[in-house]
């Protein structure tokens, strides 16, 4: 009986794993010719999984009823919120892929399958209630991601990106595992709830070591400084649809996982991790901003932009309040839309031969021949910079508000000051598009799927997005309440 209930709770993961296996078989039979069909089916599987995950969020599920498999997995509203974002992002990176890969005749049926497995792994990550579950989900996602990064295996940059990601990912996994074993050693359990109980009193040095190592491993996944070094190289080298995926879904998963770990497992020792998170947040903001300024490749620029944004999201975590968690989730939702929109726009930048355009100098004067695209990209840049009335401002506002209400005025002030530096490189892109002599490089036609996706993202981040603040905030509040549920 209990086993059946557990299975019902992990229904989205079951759907994804079963359809992943089935599509893998189909891919083996159908070959690369079937890749479009498999992509469509994979998107359908993600949509289905999403429908199965949604009720938990709408009901605001929390407490003991959400625990499955003897407390290994926790399928509450918080997990559901993250999962929905992950599935959406994964589906988006599936939709944009065919047009990109088919041009270089590299569209393989494995791509949607790998994305599905990665999405399943991320689903497990965000519903983990135990260190072991955490690690399984993380590695499931990571292994798929390493392969995806090197997906264009004949392309040197792609192969290099895959290898770098793998080696550094392995190092990070090492940190994580070492930290987990230390924690287990001092807490005597791998269950988050158990660790929480064991660390309720004074924290031993060993457990503190464990915490730092675990956080370092997770910081690698969210590409927070100083564990961000892989990000620019991998984002640049990986095929753009894969980069779209990396920049969106795993960020959500890893961030949600980090929140889960620090609140559920180390929630009794807030002061132990709060300062680390704060410093990591500030370093990420500054490194992201400074790094982005020197870039002339727009994908690298987006990589630093993601580091910068992670810093802002971590400010919400540093607040260590339910309000902060809610703000982070709203920020994450907006961030996913901005990132996907940004990368879709980059995918649409092609020269006359259809070759992707990645150099910022090459989009000079884009506004003169691709007006709509230029407007969308400009909106995304303004939104990333957090300039009102675009939606990107709202996320930053909520995060800073949470920090201020938690009494962290200096942190918020420094963050706001640093976001000014960030505005420079975002606005530089706009300036190049609108005020520089037209280079007439990016003139290629765009795929309709790209156009549709960009339109959706652009509308979401436009001032119209503010119509959703009530709904989105309500959902985020439910999720945050589930995270902070004390039963």
């Amino acid at each position: 009986m209990e086993f059946q209930a557990s299975l019902a709770l992990v229904a989205p993961e079951l759907v994804l794993s079963l359809s992943g296996l089935a599509l893998l078989l189909a891919a083996a039979w159908g070959g690369d010719k079937a890749s479009r069909l498999i992509s469509i089916l994979a998107v359908a599987a993600l949509v289905g999984a999403g429908f199965l995950a949604a009720p938990a969020l709408c009901n605001g599920a929390s407490g003991p009823d959400t625990l499955a498999f003897g407390g290994q997995v926790k399928v509450d509203a918080f997990a559901a919120f993250a999962k929905l974002l992950i599935y959406l992002a994964a589906a988006a990176s599936l939709i944009v892929a065919p047009a990109f890969f088919e041009r270089v005749k590299a569209m393989r049926a494995e791509y949607p399958v790998l994305v599905l497995f990665a999405a399943m792994g991320m689903g497990i990550m965000v519903s983990a209630a135990d260190l072991v579950t955490l690690y399984i989900g993380l590695e499931l996602n990571s292994l798929a991601a390493y392969v995806l990064a090197a997906f264009l295996r004949t392309d040197e940059r792609s192969a290099e990106a895959g290898l770098k990601y793998f080696v550094l990912g392995a190092l990070a996994s090492g940190f994580l595992l070492y930290g987990m074993s230390l924690t287990y050693g001092f807490a005597g359990t791998t269950s988050f709830a158990g660790i929480h109980a064991a660390l309720a009193g004074d924290m031993s040095k060993g457990a503190l070591f464990g915490l730092v190592f675990v956080l370092s491993g997770l910081a690698f996944k969210i590409s927070a400084a100083p564990f961000h070094m892989w990000t620019p190289d991998v984002y640049e080298g990986a095929p753009t649809p894969v980069t779209t995926f990396f920049a969106s879904a795993p960020k959500v998963a890893a961030m949600a996982l980090t929140m889960r770990v620090v609140v559920d497992a180390f929630g009794a020792q807030v002061q132990a991790w709060q300062q680390i998170v704060m410093i990591v947040a500030l370093v990420s903001i500054v490194v992201g901003a400074l790094g982005a300024i020197g870039q002339d490749n727009i994908k690298r620029l987006m990589a630093y932009s993601s580091i910068n944004n992670v810093g802002f999201i971590l400010i919400g975590l540093a607040a260590a309040t339910q309000q902060g968690a809610s703000a982070m989730l709203v920020y994450l939702a907006i961030y996913v839309a901005m990132t996907i929109g940004g990368f879709v726009a980059i995918l649409m930048l092609k020269d006359a031969n259809g070759e992707p355009v990645e150099q910022i100098a090459q989009i000079a004067g884009l506004s003169s021949h691709r007006k709509v695209l230029a407007v969308c990209l400009a909106m995304i840049m303004f939104s990333l910079a957090g300039i009102p009335p675009l939606f990107g401002f709202w996320g930053k506002f909520l995060v800073f508000q949470a920090a201020v209400q938690a009494g962290m005025v200096p942190l918020a002030a420094i963050g706001i000051a640093a976001s000014v530096i960030g505005a420079f490189y975002y606005l530089k892109v706009v300036k190049v598009m609108y005020f520089d002599e037209p280079a007439n490089v990016a003139v290629g036609k765009s795929d309709w799927a790209h156009q549709a996706l960009l339109a959706i993202c652009a509308i979401f981040i436009s001032p119209l997005g503010y119509l959703l603040t009530g709904w989105l905030g309500g959902m985020a509040d439910k999720a945050a309440a589930a995270l902070y549920f004390v039963g």
């Binding site: 550094l168 100083p226 070094m229 620019p232 500054v286 790094g291």
Partner: protein, 674 residues
């Protein structure tokens, strides 16, 4: 509708329509509109004034709009009409209307006529607001409004650097005075808890002797307030110390000099002191200061006037000097005499300026009297107008028979200064008497140099240009030099023409004023308490004592006037080598006077240079060196450096990436262990 509303707001309406319509309406429309408005305003003003003369009018206040109601601070837009205001109304609107008319001719060739006429009307409105103010704040509004219009009109020819510099100088020097005026208003509100002039004046006598503590010093409240207010008056009325802007203001078109820098705006300070006379009567130290500054200015400006060559500058220093008379008259308590001199002075000084403008017009913009001479026969009407003005300003007349305007007002001031009987008032009397001598000298010097003697026009560049242009058109072909020889009479072949009728009518009207204003208006201004109706502080005893002064005091002004005219005649008609010899003999004295007592140089050294130095320091060291360097530029530098560092760390090598991660981990562990 009360006529005062029309008097005040017609010029504003004309200014707004003319200024905004500008070229869209065209020269003639704007000129007709503004001039028409002013003549209407002028007619209504006389209709307001005459009942006061007849003693049938009562002082009244016409509310316009509520303005500020904030806590205990309350003041409204309202127009006060009493004898004092009525005098100013006729002075302002009459001179302004005539100046508008005069400008039709004088500015006929200017490309920006609508702007000029709109500014003139705007000025008139501001000046009317000043004199009708029922509270100090509205007075300040008018005060600043005339300052603005003065700035705009001095710099009317804004392409001329010297005009711009003069406009800025006038504005900045007036700011110094205005600061005093503002502090005075603030202080008055602080002490009286109101800005309403009638309430303040009613309460002022009771405050006599009250003291206040400021920066640890015990000060007489009324003295402090009145001195601050008087500093404002000094700025606006170009009194010694804050006078430097007035001569430079002559860069503006001559009608502007006549209207603003002779007849109206510069007398605002005198008006203010008279309006607030009950306050000043309660402040003996401030009154002494008014007397001293007035007497000193009166003398000082007259000395400079004797040496200047520019016809407008001579009249400008003369204005400065005459304002000094008005102030020391007020200082000794004869506010009626001060207002009377203001009234007569407005006519004859506007006349002199407009006459000078007519001469300049005839002489093709030449303003240097060294290049005039013998103009009497060429422009006879202008000559006779200037004669009327000169007779008026020098105070020609025989007691109880007839005198020109200045005779009545200036003699009254000198007599009352003696009659007051204090040491300071005697000082003022002597200063005023010497100044009367100098006035007579420089006024006649002006007339003799301009209208008598032989033409000296051939040395003037302006005239040469004019002649050259004429002959260029006529295609004669011989050069200038040969041309001069051909004539040999100093005229360079130039033929001055009398000004057009639009310029001559104002000269005629003002000449009548200069001749008869004294005779007609002396009785009410000087001897009728009923006429004033409490508008100013009326010192019955003092005016009584005025009639009892010794005969020699009564004759003093006439005697020195005769000495002045005789000296001028000897020096500039009889033997024209005398001035040269005098200058050679008293080189130092002449240089001192010719360079205006070195006030500009002194201020340049004391204020302008240090201000520039300070500004430069704040700019180069403070703004560029400190704020920019450590602010925006510094931040940009740090960011650029940081970007370079971030690029260098991002080497692309796996091992360095791994190292950074390990360093980060170690740093984090070290942090939590500490």
């Amino acid at each position: 509708m009360h006529p005062i509303l029309l008097i005040v707001f017609l010029p504003l309406l004309a200014a707004i329509i003319g200024g905004l319509g500008n070229r869209g309406l065209g020269n003639t429309v704007v000129k007709s509109l503004t001039t028409g408005a002013l003549f209407a305003s002028c007619g209504l003003s006389w209709m307001t004034f005459i009942p006061f003369l007849a003693g049938t009018a009562e002082a009244s206040v016409v509310p316009v709009l509520t303005w500020v109601h904030s806590g205990t601070l309350t003041f409204d837009w309202a127009l006060r009409v009493d004898a004092l205001t009525a005098i100013m109304l006729v002075v302002i609107t009459t001179v302004s209307a005539l100046v508008h008319l005069y400008s039709w001719g004088y500015m006929a060739e200017d490309p920006d006529q609508p702007r000029f006429f709109a500014y003139l009307s705007l000025f008139t409105f501001a000046m009317l607001m000043l004199v009708t103010a029922n509270n100090l704040v509205q007075m300040f509004f008018g005060w600043e409004g005339v300052g603005l219009a003065s700035y705009l009109l001095i710099g009317f020819w804004f392409k001329k650097p010297s005009a711009n510099a003069a406009a800025i100088k006038a504005f900045v020097v007036n700011r110094v005075g205005d600061l005093g005026f503002m502090l005075g208003i603030f202080g008055t509100y602080l002490v009286f808890q109101t800005t309403s002039i009638p309430e303040i004046l009613a309460a002022a006598p009771g405050m006599s002797g009250a003291s206040m503590t400021f920066l640890g010093m015990h000060l007489q409240t009324m003295d402090v307030l009145c001195i601050l207010l008087f500093i404002g008056a000094m700025g606006k009325s170009a009194q010694l110390g804050l006078h430097t802007w007035l001569p430079d203001a002559m860069e503006g078109p001559t009608p502007v000099s006549a209207l603003i820098h002779a007849a109206t705006m510069v007398t605002a300070g005198v008006f203010m002191v008279c309006r607030l006379s009950p306050m000043f009567e309660a402040a003996p130290v401030a009154l002494a200061m008014v007397t001293f500054v007035g007497a000193a200015t009166c003398f000082f400006a007259a000395t400079i006037g004797t040496t200047q060559w520019d016809i407008k500058r001579v009249i400008a220093y003369s204005t400065c000097s005459q304002l000094g008379y008005m102030f020391f008259a007020a200082g000794v308590g004869a506010y009626g005499a001060a207002m009377f001199h203001l009234f007569t002075h407005a006519f004859f000084k506007a006349l002199l300026f407009l006459g000078a403008g007519s001469v300049i017009h005839a002489m093709h913009h030449e303003q240097d009297m060294r290049y005039y001479g013998g103009l009497r026969k060429h422009i006879p009407l202008t000559f006779w107008a200037m004669m009327a003005g000169t007779l008026a300003i020098t105070g020609v007349g025989i007691a109880d028979v007839f005198g020109f305007a200045g005779f009545y007002s200036k003699d009254a001031i000198l007599e009352v200064a003696w009659a007051r009987g204090t040491e300071l008032s005697h000082f003022a009397f002597w200063m005023g008497t010497i100044a009367a001598l100098l006035t007579s000298f420089y006024s006649w010097r002006l007339v003799f140099l301009t209208f008598f003697g032989k033409p000296r026009w051939d040395q003037s560049e302006h005239i040469q240009h004019a002649v050259h242009d004429d002959h260029g058109h006529a295609a004669h072909g011989h050069d200038d030099h040969a041309h001069h020889d051909a004539h040999g009479d100093g005229t360079a072949g130039y033929h001055p023409h009398e000004s057009p009728v639009s310029m001559l009518i104002p000269l005629g009207v003002l000449s009548i004023g200069a001749i008869f204003a004294g005779l007609v208006f002396a009785p009410p201004f000087l001897q009728s308490e009923e006429f004033w109706g409490g508008a100013i502080y009326y010192n019955e005893a003092l005016l009584h004592a005025m009639h009892g002064v010794p005969v020699w005091v009564k004759l003093a002004a006439t005697v020195v006037m005769l000495i002045g005219v005789t000296t001028a005649w000897f020096a500039y008609i009889k033997d024209t080598s005398i001035p040269g010899k005098f200058v050679a003999q008293f080189r130092m004295l002449h240089a001192f006077l010719y360079n205006k007592w070195y006030f500009d140089e002194l201020y340049n050294f004391l204020f302008v240079k240090p201000a520039f130095w300070l500004g430069r320091q704040l700019w180069m060291r403070g703004d560029v060196g400190l704020i920019d360097r450590f602010g925006p530029n510094g931040a940009a530098w740090v960011v650029a450096r940081g970007t370079l560092a971030a690029k260098r760390v991002q080497s692309g090598y796996l091992y360095s990436y791994a190292l950074v991660m390990l360093v980060g981990l170690v740093a984090a562990i070290t942090w939590v262990m500490l």
